[in-house]
């Protein structure tokens, strides 16, 4: 990929290592096949679990017979749904009301609710034997009417969870400002019909893997898996399995891609433990196949936006939005209904919008349960806002770039408090727009677009401005359920000087390509005046060896803030202890000391002298030779744990008001595309991505994350769609059907970086990596720009040659009501 780079802005805390584009330290290990991945993990006596899954989307189970499977060669035990209530409990539910009545067990009991739902498990000596035996499981089903759309969910008599009494799991109205007044005073009112954000996933290269062992004598369950939020999964497993949380040991080391999809793998973790217990404590491995992953791991949230009304002033400034949103979470809520509040982290998007009323519901349907997929819940909402902006712009004849400049929060308004109390830390959206337009060649393309239009060609230019809100306040969970036992955000880190002077850092995060080992080493190197390779970073989550809090995991764009703050805090603590020790040993004042690297490696020395003490000797004094130390040094352990706690308060639940995230990284993408007049296939002609994640700890890693997020978004916009037929059969259960994006499909990316340091993090950094789905916004916008002259409004986040062809056909037939209606084109009379 060719690239052109632009950097704007000043560094806030330039260190020797922090801020440098250091190549990733973990890469050597990973590219040499020395990653520690769960499927490579083997234990003595390990068994293999194979699942029998439902072919139906919605059916009553009338019979499950595992007798033939149980008698098959190599089979050690089986599990069926009927057994589960006697050996486990339903997983906790986060939602209030109807949500609390949902019974989610690791296997379906009386009915199945999505195609691919596990119905029975077979555990055998080899994977082969398990697969052969699973074919002998006999299940009879009595199909039920399926619920596939939000409309079905609300209107149908068919309920997924009979106990809940409704398919609507959550509902509330979010109202801020003076919406009715704004509509009365509006010069223009634009009505927009149904908009739809489609269901797609992130299909990590490595599927889910669990190795679980229920050690009966030790009364412990030990997991080795690729769960990406182990501290959270343990909170689901402990009550479901009926064990104390300290009886659950979790290890997740290297992960081959997570993107949030691996947060809700806990039902499979429960099954491995239950199967292990049934075999008397042998380890049980489950490795998901790609088809299982597509059918039954987790998908991204699908959302439909109805009856949108937009109030605007004479300049196209949006003064109010009113709309009804229905989020579709698939068959079981699991991490939901957190998505019902998480979008509100970015309630007005990047706009000064003050008055907003959104009626928000979440429904269950007979599809795979959703999981918090990259850009989770905010991406859907931001796409909606960007669509509103572009549709209004086109309806009123105001170009997309001008619309944005008129609506953006201005650089001088930061920190900016949104109508619902979120505090945007910093940003400069107009600058990002300027950089992106320059990179993509906006003005020239505008000219070319005109010329091309004269020849009947369809070129469109689009902008997507999006936010990657990071470091979430778990207190927002209380807005969806006032009793949710969560708030704040924290991360722990531990750094120690071990017996022989080795510097060892553990942090409990589970990176999946984010380069934590590298950025952590950069931070510590600056604190101690050493080189990054002097530090041993112990990657991964490990209840036994590494530190953690209940928030520990890798999710929600936050490591640069929470993870590095914890590491920085721990390193400062260690430095203070080392400084006291060194002053004693060198008979010097602490102010005279200098941390650095000498002939024998890392050391502390007395400035302008040849007196120095190396790390071995410092560690020796505390760990092995401490009679030399006076009693007053007994508090020094050289083993320093620090917990970073983000500065949050519990939100005001009634008003749905409070600061929901600490930092607001922004992404601005500009795209130029052409719709082929023969195949209707859109082709990207030019693409620029500009990011602002505050201070970049490692610009190389930041750029890599931007490339990945961009690929993911382009895939979602033009290729990837989790499609179901009207009976609930998943049509995209293989990669041949789902067609995930690969480098072969990527356009050249032009990359630019604007730096607005965050005032809320010690290092000026903002979390980033999720990316906020900017390509979906930018490509929908560009497509809209190309097609609006033909009377076509882009209403879906997923567009292919085929779907664009269908839009043309419908426009030609002219049978449908227009999507957009302008109530006061010339303002009030």
């Amino acid at each position: 990929m060719s690239k052109k780079e632009t950097f704007v802005g000043e560094s806030k805390t330039a260190g020797k290592w922090v801020g440098r584009p250091l190549p990733r330290l973990e890469d050597a290990r990973l590219v040499q096949g020395q990653g520690v991945f769960a499927d490579d993990y083997k234990l003595e006596g390990m068994l293999y679990l194979q699942l029998e899954r439902s072919p139906y989307a919605h059916a009553r189970i009338t019979r499950v017979d595992v007798s033939k499977a149980a008698a098959a060669p190599g089979v050690v035990c089986t599990l069926t749904g009927a057994e589960l209530p006697s050996i486990s409990h339903p997983f906790p539910e986060i939602g209030p009301g109807a949500g609390q009545k949902v019974e989610d067990y690791a296997l379906a009991i009386n009915k199945v609710r999505y195609q691919g739902e596990p119905v029975a498990a077979v555990v055998a000596e080899s994977r082969h034997a398990a697969e052969d035996a699973a074919e002998l499981v006999e299940v009879d089903y009595d199909p039920l009417p399926v619920v596939m759309t939000p409309e079905d969910a609300l209107q149908s008599d068919s309920l997924l969870h009979d106990e809940a009494g409704t398919n609507r799991m959550w509902h509330d109205v979010f109202e801020f400002g003076e919406v009715d007044k704004a509509f009365q005073e509006a010069l223009h009112i634009v009505h927009i019909g149904r908009l739809h954000f489609h269901r797609f996933s992130s299909t990590p290269l490595e599927n889910n893997v669990v190795v679980g062992q229920w050690n009966i004598k030790e009364k412990r369950i030990q997991y080795f898996s690729n769960q990406q939020f182990p501290a959270f999964a343990a909170q689901f497993l402990s009550p479901a399995l009926g064990v104390r949380i300290d009886q659950i040991g979790m290890r997740s080391i290297d992960i081959g891609g997570g993107f949030g999809i691996k947060i809700t793998s806990y039902p499979y973790m429960a099954l491995c433990a239950l199967a292990s217990r049934k075999t008397g404590g042998r380890p049980v491995k489950w490795t998901e196949t790609r088809t299982e992953h597509m059918l039954a791991s987790a998908h991204g949230n699908e959302r439909t936006f109805y009856d949108t009304r937009v109030a605007l002033d004479a300049n196209g400034v949006i003064t109010a939005i009113e709309s009804r949103h229905i989020d579709d979470c698939g068959a079981y809520p699991r991490y939901e209904p957190l998505g019902c509040i998480i979008w509100a982290q970015v309630l007005p998007g990047v706009n000064r919008l003050k008055n907003i009323r959104i009626d928000f519901s979440q429904v269950v349907t007979n599809k795979c349960p959703v999981g918090p997929n990259r850009g989770y819940s905010r991406m859907q909402h931001l796409w909606f806002l960007e669509r509103v902006l572009d549709i209004c712009g086109h309806a009123l004849g105001i170009p997309g770039d001008v619309m944005r400049l008129r609506n953006y929060i201005l650089p001088e308004q930061f920190p900016y408090t949104t109508p619902n109390g979120c505090v945007y830390d910093s940003g400069n959206y107009p600058k990002m727009l300027e950089v992106a337009k320059e990179l993509v060649g906006w003005d020239e393309w505008k000219k070319k677009q005109k010329e091309a239009a004269a020849e009947g060609r369809m070129i469109g230019l689009g902008i997507g401005t999006t936010l990657d809100s990071g470091t979430n306040n778990f207190g927002q969970a209380r807005i969806v359920n006032a009793y949710a036992p969560y708030s704040g955000q924290s991360k722990a880190a531990n750094i120690k000087l071990d017996i022989y002077g080795e510097l060892v850092l553990s942090m409990g995060s589970v990176p999946q390509g984010q380069g934590h080992e590298t950025t952590a080493a950069q931070v510590v190197a600056d604190v101690l005046g050493i080189n990054p390779e002097h530090l041993n970073v112990r990657p991964g989550f490990d209840t036994e060896q590494n530190v953690y809090t209940g928030h520990t995991g890798t999710y929600a764009s936050q490591f640069a803030v929470t993870g590095l703050s914890a590491i920085h805090g721990a390193a400062l603590k260690l430095r203070a202890e080392m400084s006291r020790l060194a002053a004693f040993a060198l008979k010097a004042q602490e102010e005279e000391l200098e941390f650095g690297v000498g002939a024998q490696g890392p050391q502390v020395s007395v400035k302008n002298t040849d007196k120095a003490i190396n790390y071995w000797r410092l560690a020796n004094l505390v760990n092995l030779n401490n009679a030399e130390l006076p009693q007053s040094f007994e508090d020094i352990t050289l083993n320093c744990r620090y917990v970073y706690k983000a500065p949050f308060e519990v939100p005001d639940v009634k008003r749905k008001y409070g600061n929901l995230t600490l930092t607001y990284a922004a992404q601005l993408h500009a795209a130029v595309l052409e719709v082929n007049s023969e195949t209707f296939q859109p082709k990207i002609l030019a693409y620029a991505c500009v990011d602002d994640c505050g201070r970049a700890i490692n610009p190389l890693i930041v750029e890599g994350q931007v490339h990945g997020g961009t690929a993911h978004g382009i895939g979602g916009a033009l290729m990837e769609d989790c499609r179901y037929d009207s009976e609930g059969n998943m049509l995209t259960s293989t990669f041949s059907d789902y067609t995930p994006i690969t480098p072969m499909n990527m356009p050249d990316l032009r990359y630019g970086h604007v730096e607005s340091p965050s005032p809320f993090s010690y290092n000026g950094a903002k979390g980033m990596g999720e990316g906020g789905g900017a390509p979906l916004h930018a490509l929908s916008a560009a497509l809209q720009d190309a097609l609006y002259p033909r009377g076509i409004v882009v209403t879906d986040s997923h567009n292919t040659g085929d779907s664009i062809f269908q839009l043309f056909e419908r426009a030609r037939q002219g049978t449908e009501a227009p999507v957009v209606r302008v109530e006061r084109p010339r303002g009030p009379r």
Binding site: R127, F735, D737, I741, F805
Partner: protein
């Protein structure tokens, strides 16, 4: 996923393979590149009790050109065809071979396996039909030659009898005043096409068409012969309008059904596109122009 248990036999000669297969009957399958067979076995959609591996049979992957006839061994890999000198001579072969799926599939998958599989979306069948290929087969006792049109009976069904194997595929080297092209439109690199067209034109002069062969892939149970489109062109001057008219006529021949590769109506639209482009490129090549084309997909169109 693992396949159901099976036995494996490595054959030393084609005759031996044929003889074992005929004894074993329906239970057995020959194994070539395994790029269609193994995925189906892993999904347990097929469960042969015995696999007879052809990969060690000497000489089965050779590509020879003698007296205007090219003979391609059944075991010739897609990658081998893409890289062969033959592709310079018959560019349509390169268009097809170089764009099939990904490097792994191309370096394992074979032309014999592809034709024997008779997947309605396979790339080789329309190309070979446009070149009027013959399939030469072998059982334990004898050989026979079957015109490819007769060889392909139905979706996934060929004229091969039990114990009969594809030995080679033979095509005539097209005349100098000829040009061909294969255009496949797909959603991404490593999936089967949504629609494809193989075109081979023989020109009477710079712009008058003497003979046209047009076959459509993916839009019927077997590759469809676009005879009406050919009739539009034969003996006529290939103007822009003429080419469009032929592409429209080809659309009529298509009988696609809707699936994840596209709706039926859209696949017809694609047929028009691939035929039109195939004709344009073929015409330019017939005039000696070097034109690079391959499979089209998002990002490569």
């Amino acid at each position: 996923m693992y396949p159901a248990a099976f036995r494996y036999y490595r054959a030393a000669t084609l005759e031996e393979a044929a003889s074992i297969l005929s004894q074993a009957g329906d239970e057995a399958r020959p194994l070539a590149g395994g790029q269609s067979l193994i995925p189906l076995m892993k999904l347990r959609l097929v469960r042969p009790a015995l696999l007879v591996d052809l990969n060690s049979i000497p000489g089965l992957s050779s590509i020879k050109s003698e007296q205007g006839v090219v003979r391609i061994g059944a075991l010739a890999r897609h990658a081998q065809l893409a890289d062969s000198e033959l592709s310079q001579l018959i560019p349509i072969l390169h268009d097809c071979a170089a764009g099939i799926a990904d490097a792994q599939v191309r370096s394992r998958g074979t032309i014999g396996g592809s034709l024997a599989e008779a997947d309605p979306s396979g790339d080789w069948a329309p190309v070979m039909l446009a070149l009027s290929a013959e399939v030469r087969t072998q059982n334990s006792k004898q050989q026979r030659t079957i015109a490819l049109g007769d060889f392909l009976k139905d979706a996934y069904t060929t004229a091969l009898a039990n114990g009969e194997l594809v030995r080679e595929v033979a095509v005539k080297v097209p005349a100098k005043n000829s040009g061909g092209a294969y255009i496949a439109f797909k959603r991404c690199a490593s999936v089967y096409a949504s629609a494809s067209a193989a075109v081979q034109l023989t020109m009477a002069d710079r712009s008058t068409c003497e003979q046209a062969h047009i076959y459509l892939g993916c839009v019927g149970l077997v590759p469809l012969h676009a005879t009406a489109a050919e009739a539009e062109l034969r003996g006529r001057e290939l103007t822009k309008e003429r080419i469009s008219a032929a592409a429209e006529a080809a659309m009529e021949a298509a009988a696609p059904h809707s699936d994840m590769r596209g709706s039926a109506e859209y696949k017809k639209v694609l047929v028009k596109h691939v035929v039109k482009k195939g004709l344009e490129v073929s015409l330019r090549r017939s005039r000696g122009e070097q034109v690079e084309v391959s499979h089209e997909y998002v990002g490569r169109i």
